[in-house]
Amino acid sequence: MTSPALEVRNLFKSYDEGRIEALRGVDLSIADGEYVAITGPSGSGKSTLLHMLGGLDSPTTGEVLFRNVSLGSTIDLDTYRSRNVGFIFQAFHLMPTLRAIENVQVPMIGLNRGGFNRATRARDLLREMGLENRMEQYPNQLSAGERQRVAIARALANDPDILLADEPTGNLDSVNSARIMEILIGIQQKRGMTLIVVTHENEIAHAAARQIRMRDGKIEA
């Protein structure tokens, strides 16, 4: 059996002094190179689970292990996020004051990579996303599909092991949705990365090797 890239043990997450329970005892194991879709109704805890898997937040109890190492103890969350994880958000979350090529370099600045290497890598990634003619544009000069492709390039900047996408096609039309998913799956297969996508869309979920359905903070099936 392939060793797990991520493992979740008895994960609980509550907010507002325990009044809101977003996750209520989640156990999960995701193998290296696996493509997993997390689905479920709004408020089921899927985004919270994704945040825990990506080290954006800490669990109230339980633990998340990356390659058998507990997040937040042996490996700190900042280092984990910068070296091992790439995030793609529904709202793109690009820096509005930076050009496309500069946005892609932001994660590399976090790792103190040299300016020349950063620019070369950002250029290569944007070219890979088919944005060679849009590198100098600001986010507000790009279409929604182009913005999401810049965000994907940014997520790949530090060559992460895991790609986490939270409703990556939520703000896109069907043509752009299909193109983005084609890119994401292509990256996952070409690079052997672990891809975890939170989605409402059945088509995207069905394309995944495994579907995890959540309801009321628990894994349903």
Binding site: G54, L94, G110
Partner: protein, 347 residues
């Protein structure tokens, strides 16, 4: 604005100090004898012969100085000198003749004469008494060029200080060969203080730096600047706090992309520093402009010069960077503490 105030005020007090120093050096005064007091110094004129009697002393002359209103708009430094004072030698008479003791007459610095539109032969009322302008002179420093010089006895009468003087200026004989000038100066200082118990003999450079006018100007410049700087720091802190609040989501993005708390702090502090430095540079320009404006105004031309030393500029820029860092510290810390998830949800 705070740095502008600092540059203007501290620059003014520095220029004032330099003007005092030029006043002493141009006349060749080595030592000033004063009372051991801070605000006003008043000593007996009769001490002068005792100083003159010391072998190392070439010349000694009693002096009174005061600031007086000459017109409702113009005030000026007024010196009371003896007609035989060696200090008159350093002045370049542009018109007229030197002073005579016991006569109600004055010599005007060229800057002041221009401000007052007075020339040799005109009358100038001071404190209700008429004085005849007997000369217009050119002085090397703003403190001379913008001043009035009158006979010592006349200023004693106007100031109700008969028999009293502000200071006695002393010009020394050259140092004996083989003796270092500093050592010679200290030795003569000690001799003068031994001859005049209760009085201090202060080297001219120290006197320029520490006389009551300069000390008051310095104290008020630093005091006012400190308050202005505090307000400036609060202004930058407010700007940075607003900036951090408005860019909460951007900070969240950076945190989500793996930026460490320290890197977020450095980013915000860098911005605060640039803001402080930018303000500082503008302040330097404003201060430079303020000094030039003050030096051109008749009310202040006599005591303000445009002396603008580089160390003062460096000090102002250093203070502005420090102000930026201080003001940015709390917003930077708060920005770094933001939870990535909460920050990303921020509108």
């Amino acid at each position: 604005m705070a740095i502008g105030a600092f540059m203007g005020l501290v620059g003014f007090s520095n220029a004032f100090e330099q003007a005092w120093l030029r006043l002493y050096t141009s006349s060749g005064t080595n030592i000033a004898i004063i009372q051991r007091t801070f605000l006003s110094t008043s000593l007996d004129e009769s001490a002068t012969p005792k100083v003159k009697a010391l072998p190392a002393v070439a010349q000694a002359t009693p002096v009174i100085y005061n600031v007086m209103d000459l017109t409702p708009e113009v005030n000026a430094l007024v010196y009371g000198w003896k007609a035989d004072s060696y200090e008159l030698e350093s002045l370049q008479l542009l018109s007229g003749r030197p002073l005579r003791d016991g006569h109600p007459e004055v010599m005007l610095g060229d800057l002041l004469a221009n401000s007052l539109s007075k020339k040799t032969g005109d009358m100038l009322p001071i404190q209700g008494s008429p004085f005849k302008v007997v000369a217009v002179y050119h002085g090397g420093s703003a403190l001379e060029a913008g001043a009035v010089i009158m006979p010592l006895d006349q200023l004693q009468r106007l100031s109700s200080l008969q028999g009293k003087v502000s200071t006695i200026h002393v010009r020394l004989r050259p140092a004996p060969s083989g003796e270092a000038p500093d050592h010679y100066l200290k030795r003569v200082q000690a001799q003068i203080e031994a001859a005049l118990p209760g009085l201090r003999a202060v080297p001219a450079a120290e006197r320029a730096e520490n006389n009551q006018f300069v000390r008051l100007a310095n104290a008020s410049a630093w005091g006012t600047s400190s308050i202005a700087l505090l307000i400036g720091i609060l202004g930058i802190a407010n700007t940075m706090a607003m900036s951090v609040f408005e860019r909460t989501r951007e900070i969240g993005i950076l945190r989500a992309l793996g930026w460490k708390r320290g890197q977020i702090m450095v980013l915000i502090q860098l911005e605060a520093t640039v803001l402080g430095l930018g303000g500082g540079l503008m302040g330097v320009v404003i201060g430079w402009g303020a000094l030039h404006l003050l030096a051109a105004l008749p009310q202040s031309a006599g005591i303000v010069s445009t002396y603008f030393p580089l160390p003062l500029v460096a000090k102002a820029l250093g203070i502005s960077i420090l102000a930026g860092l201080t003001a940015g510290a709390i917003p930077a810390w708060r920005g770094a503490q933001l939870s990535p998830v909460e920050a990303l949800r921020h509108d």
